[in-house]
Amino acid sequence: MKGKKSFISYGRVFILFAFLSLAACATTRSDTYVDPNMDFGIIKTVAVMPLGNLTRDNLVSERVRDVLIHSLLATGAIYVLPPGEVAKAVVRAEIQNPAAPSSAEVVKFGEITKVQAVITGVVREYGEVRSGATFAPVVSIGLQMIETETGKTVWTASSTRGGVTVWHRLFGGGGEPMNVITEKAVNDLINKLFK
């Protein structure tokens, strides 16, 4: 009887050890890149370029860009150039695709506008997703920050918010409004930038 009991307790220790060993094999999956040599303290003014749009709604990138500009300003840490001034500088710098400028174009843009960094990005998903009879809004945004002095990418991050959850499957409902989800995704990205 006593031998059986000690066998069970050894078994428990073994299972625990096995789980701990498996956890040690896990890798941390991060969607954020930060240049370790970059001093982000020098960035006082940035320009947010028109975002790329991979969705079917043409206005999505403008909407997300507006939220991003205002959220960055609202932090009080960074000044963002007005969108009209960015549009003018894009023309002057002869940038072919403002959503994905080349390093040389970013350097030229920086010389014209005197900004320390440029933020570019893409809206990957914006709208409702369906799973069976359930639907909910979802937003997926990817951003990167490029230093204007060197034209080097110093930070990238992405965020996805919304989507169909267990709660939606069980209790239904259409999720939060699109604007709220967008603000959450943008706030998440800003948190990653300032982390």
Binding site: V67, H70, L73
Partner: protein
């Protein structure tokens, strides 16, 4: 005091005095167009109604009612023939604003003291009917200034009351209600005898911008001349950019901090300087406009949604972003994102539900104004209009 040998009690006399004094004041207020010393009445021209509703609407009826109501209150309204001749002679096609040259011409050629401009934002006859209007009074000074601005958005089912007895199903009745409100507001503002401050109701917290940035730019004891540019329209609603600019004009007019530039002058300068706002306002364009309008601040933005619903179901939706650029620093001093629906914050029985986009946008814009300029009063308008007599003009 004695009557038939009997003295009236003092409390009774004081009570009568308290009761009748406001009535006397009101009686004087009604005749605001005529000054006390028997000077000639205020001479006002009423421009044709600007139609931003994108629908057929009884524009002539609106203008006729305004004319009748103002004439009935002692204001001398410029005759139709004289105005038509003037507009033809000066080739005026735009009735949504006035520039400096036209204002001067109105004053010199037709002896007009002020111009009443009316804009129809929404006219919907589908049950329940809906109407939204803006109106403003502009002096014909060498530098025309807005002395009064008001707006109203009504739906026939705003206050249905018990058993739906309060429903308004006749579009004409709703239109008259809206016009009565505007004329009442104008009367109060113009009355030289009502010096009491009328504090505007604060906007509700639920209409505040969701994201806002404000730089500390306000200097003490200073008034800022503010020009409001038409917003970029990315919504499905035609003229939403112009409509939102009118909301800002009306809201900012109430704040002591701001002196609002007449939108007609802004339009004139935008055309003159050939400024096309496709992506937003560049600093070079901002500099040119600051100089041309002698403004301290420029308001600009983007409308993403300005939606009214037909009939009784559904909720209006308004979504826009705002930028305020300051002349001295050449920087953005205010940036905000606002989005609301008519039923935001409504928990029970549709209490507090807003049924037209005008009412919703009006609250949202007022909230922005309060965050930038503090609490608004209408005392400023009254003070300015006091100088609007024949002598001063």
């Amino acid at each position: 005091m004695a009557l038939h040998g009997r003295e009236w009690p003092r409390p009774f006399l004081i009570g009568m005095l308290v009761l009748f004094l406001p009535m006397i004041a009101l009686a004087k207020e009604e005749n605001f167009g005529v000054s006390e010393k028997g000077k000639s009445p205020l001479r006002v021209a009423i421009y044709p109604v600007e139609n931003l509703s994108s629908s057929h609407a009884p524009l002539n009826d609106i203008r006729r009612i305004l004319k009748e109501q103002l004439s009935g209150r002692g204001v001398e309204v410029l005759g139709e023939a004289a105005l038509e001749t003037f507009m033809a002679r000066h080739r005026i096609r735009y009735a949504g604003g006035i520039d400096q040259a036209t204002a001067m011409a109105l004053r010199n050629e037709l002896r007009v003291d002020a111009l009443l401009l009316t804009t129809l934002e929404l006219y919907d006859e589908v049950r329940p009917p809906k109407i939204a209007l803006f109106a403003r009074l502009i002096t014909t000074d060498p530098s025309p200034s807005i002395v009064w601005a008001e707006g109203i958005g009504l739906s026939g089912d705003d206050a249905p009351g018990l058993l739906g007895l309060g429903l308004i199903e006749d579009p004409g009745a709703l239109m008259k209600k809206a016009l009565n409100f505007l004329i009442g507001s104008l009367t109060r503002a113009l009355s030289a005898h009502t010096a009491t401050e009328r504090r505007e109701r604060s906007s509700r917290a639920r209409f505040a911008p969701t994201i806002a940035y404000k730089a500390p730019f306000v200097e003490a004891d200073r008034t800022y001349k503010i020009a409001i540019l038409p917003f970029l329209n990315r919504s499905n609603r035609k003229y939403a950019g112009e409509i939102l600019a009118l909301h800002f004009m009306r809201a900012f007019q109430r704040f002591d901090l701001f002196e609002t530039v007449e939108p007609g002058m802004v339009r004139h300068q935008l055309l003159g300087l050939r400024v096309i706002l496709e992506e937003g306002l560049s600093l070079a364009h901002a500099d040119a406009l600051f100089a041309a309008l002698d403004a301290d601040l420029l308001v600009h933005g983007r409308v993403m949604a300005y939606e009214d619903v037909q009939g009784g179901g559904g909720n209006p939706r308004v979504d826009f972003s705002t930028l305020l650029i300051e002349r001295k620093s050449r920087k953005t001093v205010w940036a905000s994102t606002s989005h609301n629906a008519g039923d935001d914050g409504v928990l029970l029985f549709d209490w507090g539900r807003l049924k037209c986009a005008h009412a919703l946008a009006s609250q949202m814009v007022q909230s922005i104004g309060e965050k930038i300029g503090g609490k608004g009063t209408s005392a400023k308008a009254i003070k300015i209009v006091r100088g609007l007599s024949k002598d001063s003009l």
